[in-house]
Amino acid sequence: MGALNLTLRVWRQPGPDAPGRLVEYKAEHISPDMSFLEMLDVVNEGLIRKGEEPISFDSDCREGICGTCGCMVNGVAHGPDAGTTVCQLHMRRFRNGDTITIEPWRAAAFPVVKDLVVDRSALDRIVRAGGYISMNVGAAPDANAIPVPKLVADTAFDAAACIQCGACVAACKNASAALFTSAKIAHLNALPQGQAEQHRRAVRMVEQMDIEGFGACSNEGECEAVCPKEIRITNIATMNRAYLKAQLVAR
């Protein structure tokens, strides 16, 4: 497979309040073995050489575990592959001559900072509202002091795999953060350590999700399909159950 010559249509926006637009760039002599972000690095080096402002985008680990990167690639969050972040997307997925549209996550709760960078601190505030357990500090407890059945541990771990990238919000037609919030609630509510605060957690995290201005869940599962960690939407059923139960018992 030879080098790729591509046309990019990239969302450029100088600042939060500045108007943005799609700008066309040529990405030439791109190796098919590059990752999508490496391709953007190459384009940026070209822009810097020409004295232009490089395209801003978030990235950190570049191996799909940190949750920092993320953008819409041809209308799909993190691009066409299942279970991957955009840093794990390889250029061999594209054909010579392709046009690729690259846009930031879109949500009222995710304001654009610059170009493809959005402010996802709304998700941090949802975690702060109840995505934790309270315990006394001191010596670390013995690893197996609290027995956790294998099935429970697996369920909790599957939900805990969430890396908070925000793709679920970006893919949802309602910009709902239900998958993210439910993964946190399902993770902690499944474990013995999370029991004491289970009701308060469910109510506060749902409340914070609404306060941040995310939409409601329409149960379409677009979030699950784009999630790099393949978090299941059954977690949303778990969240709704926990929220209803918490509303029924006295707080």
Partner: protein, 226 residues
Amino acid sequence: MSSRPTFFSSTVGSKILIGLTGLMLFGFLIGHLAGNLSLLVGAEAFNAYAHKLESLGPLLYLVEAGLVGVFLLHVVKTLANYRRNAAARPAGYREKKWAGHTSRKTWSSTTMALTGLFILFFVVTHIRTFKFGAWYVDPATGHRDLYRLVAEIYQNPLYVAFYVVAMGLIGMHLNHGISSATQSLGLSNQRTGRTLVLGGRILAVLIAVGFAALPLYMYFAHQVAQ
């Protein structure tokens, strides 16, 4: 940003109410279809069934008022979420595709608001046509001859076509609605999730086909009889 929500104003509480009222309306449809199948037995059986319902008196009014309440709550909560969802993404994408893979997104799920709006229009028309339609009296029993009204109305092929299309749209609404309601109510889990989606589809088809069969039967049966 909005203020701290209560159960009724929260997105999750709203979806629980929408799901609950939706399942209630689905339950009503099953009962409605079961009763209407007496059309296949004949005029006597259908009129006897209709009279039995009428003779419930105040109890019937209570059930009807309950149904209207459930229907309105379903619509009002949906409208509230619809407004909220539109505000959650003020600037849209220039390019957006369906994600595929495990997604449950279908034409049914994307058109819920439209099919819902149509159902609202249909229900009003439907009640005006039959409940408040011509009041024929069966000389044999002295009760309402509802069968005659049904048979007359379904002599018009346009009306039959309208009903069949309407049942198709209701089927689409249920195709997403039934399994979506179980998900909203927290009744699905990792083991049952996919089965509920499939079960919802099958039930939606059964309801739509069952209801659509009645006007078609009335039309063709009477064509043959003439």
